[in-house]
Amino acid sequence: MKRSPEESEILGNFTPSKFSGDGFLGTDPRTPQEIIVEDALELERAGIDAAAIGNALGVLFDRALQAMGAMIEIMPGVTARYHESRGVIPSPFRGEGAFEKGEVAVSGLPGFGDVILTRLSIHLIERHGFFQGRGQRYRIEPGAALMLARASVR
């Protein structure tokens, strides 16, 4: 299908660039729209919408941020730690500005293992329902996001 220049440009923002070594799609063969739609189906089955999940993940991120690198426990057996990084990374959706780098590494999540949260990935979930493509570091499986979101509201 022919793409408008706008769409081609946006797609270009999702592949590896000066700001993202692996891009936002990783090794996933699907387009961003396909990823959003399939992940949305999973959320619909659980009955929560992406904006609420993004919000809750943001709360979790702030808690880890306040600990300034010290490990915190978000639920029994699951820890999170903030790693700082200098600079900002722009959103692949043009016109949304740039987000602080720095990540929160969550470990020990049952069924998912390690999950990485960043300000940008949380924004993408909250605003677009975009959990990113498989095969790269910053994808958050909707199931993992649901579990973390539930933990953060306790």
């Binding site: 299908m1 022919k2 793409r3 408008s4 220049p5 706008e6 769409e7 729209q33 739609v37 189906l41």
Partner: protein
């Protein structure tokens, strides 16, 4: 004399109306759909693109008319009309892009990305080719080009208005985007069929 001018004015109006409604280039002839499917999700962008298309159709039908009747026909090169028209359209689009960039930054920003898109819009080439089948003079060709462009503009704005109102989340997943757009175009085309036969030009 009065009768003469008023009949010319009448014929121009009729030609404009037929090109815009009964012979709508998008909804009756199904040309120029690719841009519509790709771009029609917002009314603002559709307004911008439609306006640019009207501009281009008027200028290119006029220039192609001149080139065809004053250069191609005398030289016996009618068979080159396709490639000549395409090259003219591309050049005119490029020129218009430059002029807009210079004259009005605001307009350039809102139209900017869509101007090059116009070159590949089959409706524009379609209008130039259809013009050849009609016994029009120069002024009438202008009306034909303007009407055709206006018809396309009307169609894309209407379609985008409908799309903006549709909550795509409530559609079956496969229909979002191109699927529902085609269905909308089809239903609108049915409505425009009601116009057919009204104006015989």
């Amino acid at each position: 004399m009065e009768q003469f001018t008023s009949s010319i004015v009448l014929s121009i109006l009729l030609i404009f109306a037929s090109a815009a409604f009964t012979d709508n280039i998008l909804l009756a002839r199904f040309l120029g759909m690719c841009s519509v499917i790709g771009v029609s999700n917002r009314v603002n962008t559709s307004l911008g693109l439609g306006a640019a298309v009207i501009f281009v159709t008027v200028v290119t039908t006029a220039m192609n008319y001149a080139v065809y009747y004053y250069m191609l026909v005398p030289l016996g090169l009618e068979y080159l009309r396709l490639i000549t028209f395409i090259v003219m359209i591309a050049a005119v689009t490029q020129l218009i892009e430059m002029i807009i960039e210079r004259l009005s930054e605001g307009l350039y920003y809102s139209l900017g990305i869509f101007l090059p898109l116009i070159t590949v819009n089959c409706a524009i080439l379609g209008l130039s080719l259809f013009m050849l089948n009609k016994p029009y003079g120069f002024i009438q060709t202008l009306a034909f080009g303007g009407g055709g462009g206006f018809g396309w503009f009307l169609a894309i704005v209407l379609i985008s208005g409908i799309r903006e109102k549709i909550d795509e989340k409530r559609l079956p997943p496969g229909l979002a985007g191109p699927g529902i757009t085609l269905i909308i175009i089809g239903i609108m085309a049915l409505a425009f069929v009601g116009f057919s036969g009204m104006i015989k030009i």
